[in-house]
Subunit: 228 residues, 2 copies
């Protein structure tokens, strides 16, 4: 489903060039639940952005469902992304003066869904992440952990084929983190949603069935995990 | 040094009113190292913003070094903050198109420090958080954990009397988190900097000597910790 072959990403040139990715190889199949770990700056978010069709590698290839994404136009990548992917960004990336429910409706607007149905699904997603009562708050009226949960609700509201989550529980207390991970595990198990999740917390990684560890822009190890 | 008496913060009014803080009482002395914990939305960041003189309570009182901060003008609060406090915000709050070293120099500019001295101290702070080589990168050219470390460097560069850190390791891998916490523990032990840190991770809270737990806008428990 998702395949990176010798994916390389270089910023700048000459001696000051930064090799964010230095030849990443990985293949993730449908229905998998993968945790991506590794030190700060090791290339995790860069790899996630390429997998999420938000960025392209400087060298090497990214294939999604066998399609060479690098050959697609920008518009085609956007369509692919909106159809198949849900993304929880490391910085949340919510629209600032927009309410929680409006943020969560956004992917449904792109799918041309009718307003009443959009609202119903968006409210449902917010309820599932424990934000009932906060639907009409804007980002500045929400705590850090609440903003993170709006980002999660937005990523799952379309029931995407692939859920990409970059540090989805970094701002959540232990109990709320577990509730979110139970929800994600259920989506993976019952709806077959493929989950690729960056995390630095081992108890969160324990929900995944495979752990890919990054180091200096490369895959250092790629091992199955015993189910938690 | 820091004292909240029946601190209350209400947003909105009527039945939809949100009681972010519902009568918080706490007193923290000079040189202490305190961890603040509690569920998402329980009022931790709201309390930190009041302690950091960035916000005022709707009712109740906040005293800093015995001064009733609510009686000060906005300008006086700003001067107090710039003189005594360093703040690592939950969302980092870096200036976007500004480089790491420029972001870290900002508190020193407010203190009227000369450019050469400013640059020397800012580079030193960035080195201490492991960001050597990244000084001239802007936020968009830094990973999530690197941005978080720029925010930490900016908070400590003035050797503030009080360091307020809201989830300072949420985006850092285990090894980097420990390095940052070792640095913070050293600042507390050797320079007597008072540290008040919100965190949801117990291994991070273990560096503190006291744990204050929030629940629904109140202090639920306030206990000393055995030193880790
Ligand atoms: N401007 C606002 N209007 C309405 N409600 C608000 C506003 N700002 C904050 N709140 C509410 O106040 C409560 C406390 O927020 P706060 O940010 O202090 O929580 P927190 O403990 O820091 O949570 P987290 O761990 O998720 O960061 C939350 O329920 C939040 O929705
Ligand atoms: N536009 C850019 N210009 C220069 N360097 C960049 C740019 N964007 C990212 N980098 C560098 O690429 C490297 C990898 O970044 P990436 O965000 O993928 O790391 P990460 O593993 O997600 O880290 P973290 O755990 O801190 O979020 C970092 O060292 C970063 O400084
Ligand atoms: Mg990252
Ligand atoms: Mg908070």
């Amino acid at each position: 489903l998702v395949e990176l072959r010798e994916a390389t990403k270089v910023y700048g040139s000459g001696p000051a060039a930064v090799h964010a990715l230095a030849g990443v190889n990985l293949a993730i199949g449908e229905g998998e639940f993968v945790a991506i770990m590794g030190p700060s700056g090791s290339g995790k978010s860069t790899a996630m952005n390429i997998i999420g069709c938000l960025d392209t590698p400087t060298a090497g290839e990214y294939r999604f469902k066998g399609i060479a994404v690098g050959q697609l136009s920008r518009n085609q990548r956007t369509l692919l992304r909106r159809h198949f992917l849900g993304f929880v960004f490391q910085g949340f990336n919510l629209l600032a003066r927009t309410t929680a429910v409006e943020n969560v409706e956004l992917p449904l607007i792109y799918r041309g869904m009718a307003p009443a149905e959009r609202r119903r699904l968006a409210l449902g997603a917010l309820r599932r992440v424990g934000l009932e009562g906060r639907e009409h708050h804007t980002s500045s009226e929400l705590s850090g952990g609440q903003q993170q949960r709006v980002a999660i609700a937005r990523a799952i509201v379309t029931d995407p084929a692939v859920l990409l989550a970059d540090e989805p529980t970094g701002n959540l207390d232990t109990k709320t983190s577990r509730e979110i991970m139970e929800l994600v595990a259920t989506l993976n198990r019952d709806q077959g949603i493929t989950v690729i999740m960056v995390t630095h917390e081992t108890d969160i990684a324990a929900y995944a069935r495979r752990a890919i560890r990054f180091l200096d822009g490369r895959v250092e190890s790629d091992v199955p995990r015993r189910e938690a």
